[in-house]
């Protein structure tokens, strides 16, 4: 198996229990692996939480870690995917001085071209929202940096897979 370090998107379906984040993050921490981003949300199944974790490592290491994650009692199923196997998005918010919106025409062009959305505008500042791939967000960040950004925040990656994950059948089998 390749020793090449790649980026993987880990999807973990779990029960919604206190302390599970600690249990899962400890698996990475113990192996000295940095989590690039982590997102917790509802999933397509009622009552089941879905974690999306972005990490860099070799596939061999990834497989072992998936095993360790699945071993946790309250983890229903864990999967890993490469970028090509997922459709993914990240989201970000920029808070920028309102004056710039009117004084710097270039900003208006940037907003238009980037497909960013203005969430709110008031006398002091406006808030810009952009969803997309990491490089699109990074590009927008670079462009806006020139004018000054009051605040910037980016969400963790969220991703769905191109192939199906047979989690619903698994749960149905248990409930029989």
């Amino acid at each position: 198996m390749s020793k090449e370090i790649k980026q993987f998107t880990v999807s973990v379906y779990t029960e919604n229990n206190i302390g599970l984040l600690n249990r899962i993050s400890a698996i990475f921490q113990r192996r000295h692996i940095n989590i690039e981003s982590i997102n917790s949300s509802a999933s397509e199944i009622e009552g089941v939480t879905r974690w999306t974790i972005l990490v860099n490592m070799t596939e061999e290491q990834m497989k072992k870690i998936i095993g360790q994650i699945e071993k946790q009692v309250e983890v229903i199923k864990a999967y890993y995917h490469t970028e090509e196997e997922t459709i993914y998005q990240e989201s970000c918010l920029f808070k920028i001085k309102s004056d710039l919106l009117f004084e710097e025409r270039q900003i208006q062009n940037i907003i238009k071209e980037s497909n960013a959305r203005i969430v709110t505008v008031n006398k002091k500042f406006f808030v810009l929202e952009k969803s997309g791939r990491k490089n699109e967000i990074e590009l927008l960040h670079r462009e806006l940096s020139a004018f000054g950004i009051m605040q910037f925040v980016r969400s963790g990656r969220i991703a769905v897979t191109k192939d199906e994950m047979k989690i619903t059948e698994m749960l149905a089998a248990f409930n029989k």
Binding site: G19, Q68, E70, V73, E74, L171, F174, N175, K176
Partner: protein
């Protein structure tokens, strides 16, 4: 199917309920799970439960250990000899943190224990209250599962889950933390044992196709070798393993925790693998053509350098925990599942065989090891006493029946190498974590779980002093454990490494020891010290004959080393005999 479940649920809901306190509920849960003894130490945040234990003392025996670490190790000893779940209890804060070493030990050695800790009242959580620690956070990486209860109504379900998780599949430790207000709170109690958790699949199904592939590989092997581990004991698959070994005629070695699953004297039992294991199975690991690993996890102390481990062999791995497959050693065929099920399904697929010529290789190498090492260990001609000859005397008295509880270090390796067993679950030791101080409290738990069995703790002078206070537990409970301290006035294993790899710089390994016999006598435990060979046999006999607890100190050669030895980082076949 759904209808029957509804009927079941209905019956459950119609069961008579009783209004009791959370603390009484905890005791009632323990009784419902068949717990007859638990080990612990009281304190503020767990006092309501102790109050109930007082009321239920005719039904459940609480053993007051002298330190919470002792409580976990006793629970482990209890679990390891009986196969049942051991239970330990402690208060919040330091009581809870003192459990951690035992919990970590149980995690790495797959021992089913349930630990119950008291916690500060729920409205104080997170306020740095007196004796508050985040024990759920602290214990997370070393537990199979843990949970904090803040409402009494959660108690039955969580306790049922705790016992189910601890003992099912690959067993392990579970911690349940209960706030003091939940202990006081009254609620309608009813108990139902846990029968399954949807996110948890403890026993994977055996794949019949893979089993057939494995059987073909074994049937066509010229030089097959089995290495079994504790999975055989945990799966109660000793008879199945024996049948497989005998039918296919496969030389079979064991890991330290697999010891005693097959009698020591069995002709196909070729000894222990690993760092201080036997010469033949280590060397021939790198000559076999099919290596069949059963219920073992290729620990680094077993494999040595992985790049030079059984590279010539096809590897078959029988394993209950999917996370262990391909973790350390890449397998050719992995058979997931319970060892009892997979081995009994394997048996009819195997052709009767005997590998006499191959087995002879093991015998030849044993002769080399006997000449270079074993002879001098068991029948020394030098003046000073060896650890091996003490084990030899214990064997003479035990006739393979005693359970040997060893601590960690040189004496442990000697005990595991030389103790003779003819009963399973007889070798109780801290394998994965290497916890000094394990043996004395573990022996207490083992003897209580199996009072009909002789339990001999073999301990070094270093580890003994880590939990020596448990002599108080022995004195108070009158549990008749036999304690042998092999005293070389050194932290022997570290000293051995210093001698071999650190140019004999004995940094902080020499011990100035107290009068161990006087200390034992201070606890009213019969005690004797042996310094000469001619006193040894009779002293061991006297100890084994004693109806009560007995302490025997044997002063042994100060600077003996344990061989054979696979130096760390070396290949198993580069094992040193001297």
């Amino acid at each position: 199917m759904k209808e029957t479940l509804n009927i079941k649920q209905k019956q459950y809901l119609e069961q008579p309920k009783e209004r009791i306190s959370g603390s009484e509920a905890i005791v009632r849960c323990l009784l419902a799970e068949g717990v007859d003894v638990l080990y612990g130490y009281p304190g503020g945040a767990i006092m309501p439960v102790y109050d109930e234990l007082y009321k239920y003392q005719d039904k459940i025996n609480h053993v007051l250990t002298r330190h919470e670490q002792g409580a976990t190790h006793s629970a482990q000893g209890y679990a390891r000899i009986s196969g049942k779940v051991g239970v330990a209890m402690a208060t919040s804060g330091p009581g809870a943190t003192n459990l951690i070493t035992g919990i970590a030990d149980a995690q790495i050695d797959s021992t089913p224990i349930v630990c119950i800790t008291g916690q500060v009242t729920s409205h104080l959580l997170g306020s740095d209250a007196f004796q508050e620690t985040d024990i759920v956070g602290i214990s997370t990486p070393v537990t199979k599962w843990n949970h904090q209860i803040t409402k009494a109504s959660e108690i039955p379900e969580v306790m049922a889950k705790a016992f189910y998780i601890a003992k099912s599949g690959r067993p392990g430790p579970v911690l349940v933390d209960i706030t003091k207000d939940a202990q006081f709170e009254e609620f309608d109690f009813q108990y139902k044992k846990c029968e399954g958790i949807r996110s948890y699949n403890p026993v994977p199904k055996v794949d019949d196709f893979k089993l057939k592939e494995a059987a073909d590989l074994i049937n066509n092997a010229k030089k097959p070798m089995i290495v079994w581990g504790q999975g055989v004991i945990l799966g109660k698959a000793e008879e199945e393993l024996k049948a497989v070994i005998e039918k296919a005629g496969i030389p079979s070695a064991w890991t330290i925790l697999g010891a005693s699953a097959i009698p020591t004297s069995h002709p196909l039992n070729i000894g222990m693998v690993g760092m201080h294991g036997n010469y033949a199975p280590n060397v021939l690991t790198n000559e076999c053509d099919v290596l069949i690993a059963i219920g073992m996890r290729f620990d680094d102390r077993v494999t040595g350098n992985l790049d030079k481990y059984a590279k010539q062999a096809k590897i078959i791995h029988f394993e209950i925990d999917p996370a262990e497959v391909d973790k350390n050693v890449k397998t050719d065929i992995a058979i997931l599942g319970d060892s009892k099920e997979s081995l009994s399904k394997l048996l009819p697929l195997l052709k009767a065989n005997s590998h006499q010529e191959w087995l002879q290789n093991f015998k030849d190498l044993y002769a080399v090891e006997f000449e270079k090492v074993i002879k001098n260990d068991l029948h020394p001609t030098k003046e000073s006493l060896t650890m091996g000859e003490v084990l030899h005397q214990i064997n003479i008295q035990s006739k393979g029946k005693a359970a040997i509880v060893s601590d960690v270090g040189q004496h442990q390796m000697i005990a595991c190498r030389y103790a003779e067993f003819n009963t399973s679950k007889s070798n109780i030791t801290s394998g994965g974590l290497g916890t000094m101080g394990f043996a004395l409290p573990a022996a207490i738990g083992a003897k209580m779980a199996a009072p009909e069995r002789e339990v001999v703790a073999v301990i070094g002078d270093g580890g003994y002093q880590m939990t020596i206070q448990e002599l108080g537990t022995i004195f108070q409970t009158k549990v008749p454990v036999k304690i042998v301290v092999l005293n070389n006035e050194f932290l022997g294993m570290v000293r051995q490494w210093q001698q071999l790899f650190f140019d004999k710089r004995y940094a902080s390994t020499e011990m100035t020891n107290p009068d161990f016999v006087a200390i034992a006598k201070g606890y009213y435990v019969d005690a004797k010290r042996v310094t000469k060979r001619e006193e040894l046999a009779s002293a061991v006999e006297e100890m084994m004959q004693s109806k009560d607890a007995y302490f025997l100190e044997v002063c042994i050669e100060k600077e003996d080393n344990v061989f054979p030895m696979v130096p760390s980082g070396a290949s198993v076949s580069d094992i040193r005999l001297e």
